[in-house]
C-alpha cells in the first residue's frame, strides 16, 4: 500500500470513545464516591464536558468552513443562537403560536423542531452564503461579522415584532423542556451528556467523511486556488455556500441541544464575543483538522476554568480583567509555538519524532 501514515482517525476513536464513555459511566454510577470533579481536582465537571461536546459539534462545521474551505466566519454564534431560539420558541411558545397541544406535548416534538431548525438554518445560510461568499479575506470576515451582529440584534429586539414577544428580548426564554426519548427523560446530566457526545462523535465522523471525499478535496482546492479549482470544473460558489450551510446547520443543532440543556436562552450567549471565542477554539485545536474540534473546545474551557479558580492564588487581588489578559497571553503562546493548532501541530511533531510520513487523503 502507498498510504503509510499515522492512523490518527483510528487512534482518535480508540482513545476518545472509551474516555468519553468512562467519564459518563463515572458520573452515572459514582463508584466508591468517586466523581469527575473529585478526580480532576475540581477542574472538570460534567457541565464542562457537555459544553465541550456542544462546541465540538459547532467546531467540526467551522473547521470544514475555515480550515478546509478557507472561508472565514466571524458570525458563527448567530447560527448557534438561531438553533437555540428556534427550539425555545417552538417548544415554550408553541401554544401561543397556535400549534395544537397534543403535538407540542408529544415526546418527539422537540426532536422534530431540532431537526427542522438545523435544516432551515442550513438552508438560510446557503441562501445568504451564495452572495456573501463571493467576498474574500477581510471583506468576508466583515460580512459574517455583520451577519452575526444583525442576528444578535434581531434576537434581542424580538425580531422587530415586539407585540408577539417571540424571543423574549434581553431576558430571552425560560422554561425550555428537557428532552425525552419515548418515556425516558434525558436527565440527570449524565444522560444528557451521553446524548450530546453521541452527536459530537457523529459530527466528527461526518467531518472525517466529508474531508476524505470528492467534496472535501474540492473544498481544499478552493482554499488553495479558486481559479485553478474552477478551471477543472469545481463549481466554487456552490461548494462554498454548501459548506457554509452545513456549518450553520451543525451550529444550529448544537444550539437546540444547548437550549434543552440550559432550559434558558438569552441573546447575549450568541453575540459577537461568543463568535470570536469559537474562532479561538478552532485555531487552538487546529482549524485544518477535524479532531482539533474537541481539543480546541476542551483546552479553551479548561484554561478559562483554571484562570477563574487559580489566578487569585498567584495574584491575590486579581479581577476579571486579569483572567482576560492571561487568557490572551496563553493564546498568543499557543499560536507562536503551534501555529497549526494543538492537533495538527502536535501530530506533526509526533510524526517527525516517529519518522512517519503524513497520510494522504
Amino acid at each position: 500500500m502507498r498510504r503509510a501514515g499515522f492512523p490518527s482517525n483510528t487512534v482518535g476513536f480508540a482513545i476518545g470513545l472509551p474516555l468519553i464513555l468512562a467519564i459518563g459511566g463515572l458520573e452515572a454510577f459514582r463508584p466508591m464516591g468517586l466523581s469527575l470533579p473529585a478526580l480532576t481536582g475540581g477542574l472538570l465537571t460534567l457541565d464542562t464536558m457537555i459544553r465541550v461536546g456542544l462546541f465540538t459539534i459547532i467546531l467540526v462545521g467551522l473547521n470544514l468552513l475555515m480550515g478546509y474551505a478557507g472561508q472565514v466566519s466571524l458570525g458563527q454564534a448567530a447560527f448557534y443562537g438561531m438553533g437555540a431560539f428556534f427550539s425555545a420558541i417552538l417548544t415554550v411558545r408553541a401554544r401561543a403560536l397556535g400549534i395544537p397541544p397534543t403535538l407540542v406535548e408529544a415526546w418527539w416534538w422537540p426532536w422534530l423542531v431540532m431537526l427542522a431548525g438545523a435544516f432551515l438554518v442550513g438552508l438560510t445560510a446557503y441562501g445568504i452564503g451564495r452572495p456573501i461568499l463571493r467576498l474574500r479575506g477581510h471583506y468576508l470576515a466583515m460580512a459574517t461579522l455583520g451577519l452575526g451582529i444583525v442576528v444578535y440584534i434581531l434576537l434581542r429586539e424580538n425580531l422587530g415584532l415586539p407585540h408577539l414577544n417571540l424571543t423574549g428580548g434581553f431576558d430571552g426564554i425560560q422554561g425550555i423542556p428537557r428532552l425525552r426519548l419515548g418515556g425516558i427523560l434525558l436527565w440527570p446530566a449524565w444522560r444528557y451528556y451521553f446524548l450530546v457526545w453521541l452527536f459530537a462523535f457523529g459530527a466528527i465522523a461526518l467531518g472525517l467523511r466529508v474531508v476524505r471525499s470528492r467534496v472535501g478535496r474540492a473544498l481544499r482546492a478552493i482554499h488553495g486556488s479558486e481559479m485553478a479549482a474552477e478551471s477543472v470544473g469545481v463549481e466554487v460558489s456552490h461548494y462554498k455556500a454548501q459548506v457554509f450551510g452545513l456549518s450553520a446547520a451543525m451550529a444550529a443543532l448544537a444550539g437546540s441541544l444547548y437550549a434543552h440543556f440550559q432550559t434558558t436562552v438569552i441573546p447575549a450567549t450568541f453575540g459577537f464575543g461568543p463568535s470570536l471565542e469559537l474562532v479561538v477554539m478552532s485555531a487552538v485545536g487546529g482549524m485544518a483538522s477535524i479532531w482539533g474540534a474537541p481539543f480546541g473546545a476542551l483546552t479553551v474551557l479548561l484554561v478559562q476554568e483554571v484562570l477563574r479558580t487559580q489566578l487569585h492564588r498567584v495574584i491575590p487581588n486579581a479581577q476579571g480583567e486579569f483572567e482576560a489578559i492571561a487568557f490572551g497571553l496563553i493564546l498568543v503562546l499557543i499560536m507562536l509555538f503551534l501555529p497549526e493548532g494543538l492537533t495538527t501541530g502536535g501530530l506533526r511533531w509526533l510524526r517527525s519524532r516517529m519518522g512517519l510520513r503524513p497520510p494522504s487523503g
Binding site: V210, R214, G224, M227, E230, S231, V232, V234, L246
Partner: protein, 275 residues
C-alpha cells in the same frame, strides 16, 4: 495555403474545435485584444506567441471564461461559450495550466490529480456523509484514473508528496496532469516551459508530443521560440492585442511583421530562424 476564414471554411474539411471570432477585450481604456480571430483545429498543436503584454494570457482567460470579452464570440465545438462560468467551460472539455503555477498548498500530488478528475464524479455532500456504495465505487474509479495519469506523466513516485515540495519543472508537469485528469478535448498551456532547465524542457516536449499523439488538441502559449517551433504545426502571433500573423512555423520565422514585432525586445525569432 494555410489561410483560415473565421467561419471555418478554410481548405480543411473538419469543423474547427475552437473558434475565436473578432474578440476584443478592453480593461478600462486599454485595449488588451482587438478584433482577434483564430481557429484551433482538431488534432492540432497550435502555438500562440507574441512579445510580453501582447494579450496571450488575456486570450486564455477569455477562452476559459475567467474574463468576458468586450465584444466578439468564442465557439467551442460549434457552440458559443461566451458568458459561461469557468467551471462549465471546463466540463465542456477545455482545460488549462497557468503561467504562474496555481497549485493547492497542503494537498499531495495524487490529490491534485484527483481534484482534476472532479468533473467525472457525481457524488455530493450526502454521498460523502452516508458513504453510499455508488460514492465508494466512484471514489475507487477516480483513484484508479488518477493513478494511471500519474504513471502516464511520470509522477507516480511523487504521489504522496505535498505538491509545493516539487521542483518547478515537475510542478508544471503536475499542472498538466491535473488538466489531463479532466479528460479535455482542448488543452491550453500557458508558458509551460517558463523557468525550466533544458532537461526539464525536453521532458515537457516529450509529454506534450505524446498527449498530441493521443488525440488531444493543444493551444500553446510559449516564450521559448525553439520549443514552439519544435512542437507547433501552426503558429499565431499577437502583438499589442492584434493578430499580426498566422501560419506554419517556417513561414512565421521569416514573416517580416513578426520579426519587426520582436525586434528591439529580443532576438529570439531570428535566433530560432538561424538554428
Amino acid at each position: 495555403m494555410w489561410s483560415i476564414s473565421p467561419d471555418g471554411t478554410g481548405e480543411r474539411s473538419q469543423a474547427p474545435l475552437l473558434e475565436v471570432f473578432r474578440v476584443s477585450k478592453a480593461f478600462g481604456g486599454l485595449m488588451a485584444l482587438m478584433e482577434v480571430s483564430l481557429c484551433v483545429w482538431p488534432g492540432q498543436i497550435k502555438g500562440l506567441i507574441g512579445p510580453n503584454g501582447a494579450g496571450k494570457t488575456t486570450l486564455f482567460n477569455l477562452i476559459t471564461g475567467m474574463l468576458r470579452p468586450t465584444s466578439g464570440d468564442i465557439r467551442f465545438q460549434g457552440r458559443s461559450i461566451v458568458g459561461l462560468p469557468p467551471y462549465r467551460i471546463a466540463t465542456l472539455g477545455i482545460a488549462r495550466t497557468f503561467q504562474n503555477v496555481q497549485l493547492f498548498p497542503g494537498m499531495t500530488v495524487f490529490e491534485h490529480v484527483l481534484v482534476g478528475g472532479h468533473r467525472h464524479g457525481r457524488s455530493g455532500l450526502l454521498g460523502a456523509i452516508f458513504r453510499t456504495s455508488r460514492m465508494r465505487q466512484e471514489e475507487a474509479e477516480a483513484r484508479a484514473r488518477a493513478w494511471r495519469i500519474l504513471e502516464r506523466v511520470g509522477l507516480a513516485e511523487w504521489a504522496d508528496r505535498p505538491a509545493e515540495s516539487l521542483p518547478l519543472g515537475l510542478q508544471r508537469i503536475l499542472e498538466i496532469a491535473r488538466a489531463m485528469a479532466t479528460a479535455p478535448r482542448l488543452l491550453l498551456l500557458d508558458e509551460p516551459g517558463a523557468g525550466l532547465n533544458p532537461a526539464e524542457k525536453a521532458r515537457l516536449v516529450r509529454l506534450i508530443r505524446s498527449l498530441h499523439e493521443e488525440g488531444i488538441t493543444v493551444l500553446l502559449v510559449e516564450h521559448d521560440m525553439n520549443l514552439v517551433m519544435e512542437l507547433a504545426d501552426e503558429i499565431a502571433v499577437l502583438d499589442y492585442g492584434r493578430l499580426i500573423a498566422e501560419g506554419p512555423p517556417e513561414a512565421i520565422r521569416q514573416d517580416p511583421r513578426v520579426i519587426a514585432a520582436y525586434l528591439g525586445e529580443e532576438d529570439e525569432v531570428r535566433d530560432a530562424a538561424r538554428s
